[in-house]
């Protein structure tokens, strides 16, 4: 029987960068791209099962598509307890949305500082090449400095599977390591130098 793991992924970033588009395209296997802008109020929860490559295991990804407008920020962080993963999105044609990523990350980390939190930085709207102001290099550097994976996409054109496909992988790893650790623990009670620092 395959193992099903659950992971809570916070999706955050400035308003209008395309968080909801990415989530909805991913959730519908690219069959639904919302053509009109609908402001997200609070948090929208989408659940998407993702198969882990080369295994029969599955991660049930709970996407917490969170409002980007500042007026909701207090309300939104209430839903962020016990996160497993984080995805910060910015718009490559909007410099401010890029610089604000740090602030969003800090907000997420302030909710749960003592658990490792794998995450990705996503540069959206790469189809608008003419208007692009944030270069891939800038994005990669920020991601590297924050220990995040870096991905570029355009919610209406590219399969988002790649980004989100990568994330649950980490969860699977995490679980494996955790179980390993439990196992080790039961064998060797005096174990002192094994690290729980996962990832």
């Amino acid at each position: 029987m395959p193992t099903i793991l659950r992971a809570k992924c916070i999706v955050t970033g400035d308003a209008g960068v395309g968080k909801s588009s990415i989530c909805q395209v991913f959730h519908s296997d690219s069959s639904h791209f919302p053509k009109n802008y609908t402001m997200t109020v609070g948090v929208e929860l989408l659940v998407k099962p993702v198969n882990i490559p080369d295994t029969r295991d599955q991660v049930e990804l709970f996407l917490y598509d969170s409002a980007g407008k500042d007026v909701f920020s207090e309300q939104v962080t209430k839903f962020w307890e016990h996160p497993n993963l984080v995805m910060v999105v910015y718009d490559v044609t909007n410099e401010a949305s890029f610089t604000n990523c740090v602030r969003w990350l800090e907000r997420v980390y302030s909710v749960k500082p003592d658990v490792s939190l794998p995450g990705v930085l996503v540069a959206n709207k790469t189809d608008l090449d003419q208007r692009r102001v944030v270069s891939p290099k800038q994005g990669k550097e920020l991601a590297l400095s924050k220990g995040l994976g870096y991905f570029e996409c355009s919610a209406d054109k590219v399969l988002i599977q790649n980004i989100l496909g990568e994330v649950p992988w980490d969860v699977d790893n995490l679980s494996e390591k955790q179980l390993e650790l439990n196992h080790q623990d039961q064998i060797d009670h005096g174990m002192t130098n094994s690290s729980t620092a996962i990832l």
Binding site: M1, T3, I4, L5, R6, A7, K8, V59, E60, F62, E81, H82, N84, D114, V115, S116, V171, L174, S175, Q178, L179, L181, N182, D185, Q186, H189, M191, T192, S194, S195, T196, I198
Partner: protein, 137 residues
């Protein structure tokens, strides 16, 4: 001492929120120290143990890993969703060892079903090795 929360004494797992086939919740009451119930992500997580008959719980010994906040709740009936809080605890973090905690239960309440509610952990996943219940049958 008699452990009421064991298969030997007729205890059963009647509900659990995680069920990894390699680490099923029944491992909590099998009396073995090396087998464990692993959660499969998200909080809260809960497991309900039903005893053969109602007992007066005096203490509950839990052996687990990475559990932060846990609540014990009891129900008098064998098939009820009305649980009353028996105790609420926050365990210390120990990255390398099992947490072995004994929780005293005051008030001499009759309990037929015991609910363990894990509301947070020190990692994404937690494990419960054993639950031993002392009391009077």
């Amino acid at each position: 001492m008699l452990d009421y929360a064991s298969v030997k004494e007729g205890a059963q797992i009647v509900l659990s929120t995680s069920s990894d086939e390699n680490h099923p919740p029944e491992n909590i009451i099998d009396g073995l120290d090396e087998t464990f119930w692993a959660t499969t992500g998200l909080y809260p997580q809960e497991v309900i143990i039903r005893f053969k008959s109602p007992i007066n719980i005096s203490s509950v010994a839990i052996s687990c890993f990475n559990v932060q906040k846990i609540a014990l709740e009891g129900s008098e009936q064998d098939n009820s969703d009305k649980f009353v809080l028996l105790s609420e605890q926050e365990f210390d973090r120990d990255d390398h060892h099992k947490q072995n905690e004994e929780i005293r239960v005051e008030g001499n309440k009759q309990v037929h079903c015991l609910r363990l509610l894990i509301t947070s952990g020190y990692d994404h996943f937690v494990a419960v090795y054993n639950v031993k219940v002392n009391g009077r049958g």
